[in-house]
Amino acid sequence: MSLSSIHAAVLPEDRADILYHSYDGGGAEISGPSYLVRKKFSESVSASVNHYVDSVSSASIDVITRASPYTEERTENSLSVDYLHEKTLISVGITESIENDFDATTFSFGISQDMFGDLTTIGMSFALGDNIIGETGNDTFSEEATVRSYRFSLSQVMTKDLIMAFTLETITDEGFLNNPYRAIRYIDPLDPLNYIYDDEVYPNTRTSHAAAIRGKYYLPFRAALHGGFRVFSDDWGIEAQTYEIGYTWPYSEALTLEFNFRFYDQTKADFYSDLFPFPDAQNFLARDKEMSTFTSNTLGLGAHYKFIKNGSGFIKRGSVNFSWDYIQFDYEDFRDLTVAGVPPGQEPLYEQDANVIRAFVSIWF
């Protein structure tokens, strides 16, 4: 669901975007295009379609320690329709994601309402997703999972120069939540200098809560400063905080520059361990780096160039955009198993960094 306009009581503008994205880090390269077209069909109905592709070529730490590098493709298609009635905006959407070993279908419904002289917007949305999980090379393996998300958001104009937004979201999962390609390891009972891989065991439910507050402030010399803070916790014992700060600087009439910094910090899941002491050490077992204790730092730069300002004819406005984000992940209890010749649990801690590129052209018509 994306109601990406701060004016809730108007339909989003007609636009078309072509984006190229690339993620390169930790031995994985993921890139591809994303296309979006949004069009009004009347004064009260607007629809948008999005086609997104991920081409994955992975030799990540998880892959090289357990399997052989692979390539695959993920395609995502979504359709959403917005309906505006006075100060109420209703959105319905469907998204379908297809991989050779994973299919997901998500339905969403959202409603938002402007009130108090249009200084306040309240929004609520619900999404229901059905996932079918397979395993490449194992045709008998097929599992399902259901995801439900409930979201409440409030945005508030505080002053002539300050807008704040507050969001709450609860997500529940039910079903098969493991990643079939990941494994845990435990100390070989017969040889403490060796370790043995085994299957992961996850609970089959997960409930998470997140709350975020964000603000954007217009500085006296036409530039905007924004900040955000999010807290997260789930019933797997993971707690996380995200801090964001950014600066939007209109360098000239046509060129706008952006600077962002993001810091993320999480604790591990209760049933996570880099190295279990013996087989079946507990009911649930996981060794995904995503569920370990770690931090990430992101430095982002962006440029936004308007190449058509007041176009006549079909195209009203156009822009080209480029952004680069550098992310550094530091794991505190996930070890780098490519380092051999050390006793289990003595390997160096893993770390990785990534470069994320987004390049896109947008036109408004």
């Binding site: 108007v10 004064e43 002289g117 007041n310």
Partner: protein
């Protein structure tokens, strides 16, 4: 002590709400006389509303950052050119502080009717402008007859109907 803290918290809360949601009653309504004002115009001259006594006046509060305002500007210009000779005038009251933004919009989209600058927002306050754009129709006797909030495609037909009616009176 705990109870007192609660009391204190709630009275603070109520005080805060009252401060935010202050009720106010404005005199600008239909069938009341239109408050007079003097504002500097784009040509540099001061312009007074009462100078147009006897004319049908359409006051339009607008800003260059307001999409619907930009859209209706050329349509209002057509309306002005059509009925100007029959004792009709449009006064485009710009509400912005940075006049340059309004001026550069007008150089791209020129209009023939007078543009006035209400950069202190005194007139916008007096007319209790609660939407952008806001259009106020004043009859030949200086009385407010219609207040129209916002603009969506087709509203120019409503303006035309009102203007035709007021001109005939």
């Amino acid at each position: 002590m705990k109870k007192m803290t609660h009391h204190f918290t709630y009275s603070l809360f109520i005080g805060f709400l009252t401060a935010i949601f202050t009720l106010s009653v404005h005199a600008v309504t239909v069938d009341k006389p239109a408050p007079d004002f003097t504002l500097k115009s784009l040509s540099g001259k001061n312009l007074k509303l009462s100078e147009h006594a006897g004319d049908v006046v359409m006051l339009n509060f607008w800003a260059s950052w307001c999409g619907p305002c930009r859209k209706e500007m050329p349509l209002m210009n057509d309306l002005y050119n059509k009925y100007e000779k029959l004792g009709f005038v449009i006064l485009g009251v710009n509400v912005e502080q940075e006049l340059q933004l309004a001026k550069s919009f007008l150089s791209d989209t020129p209009v023939d009717f007078p543009i006035l600058f209400d950069s202190s927002n005194k007139v916008s306050k007096a007319y209790d402008v609660i939407a952008m754009p806001t259009t106020v129709m004043i009859d030949r006797n200086g009385k407010i007859r219609y207040i129209h909030k916002g603009y969506k495609a087709g509203d120019e037909k409503k303006y035309k109907k009102m203007v035709k009616k007021l001109i005939r009176e």
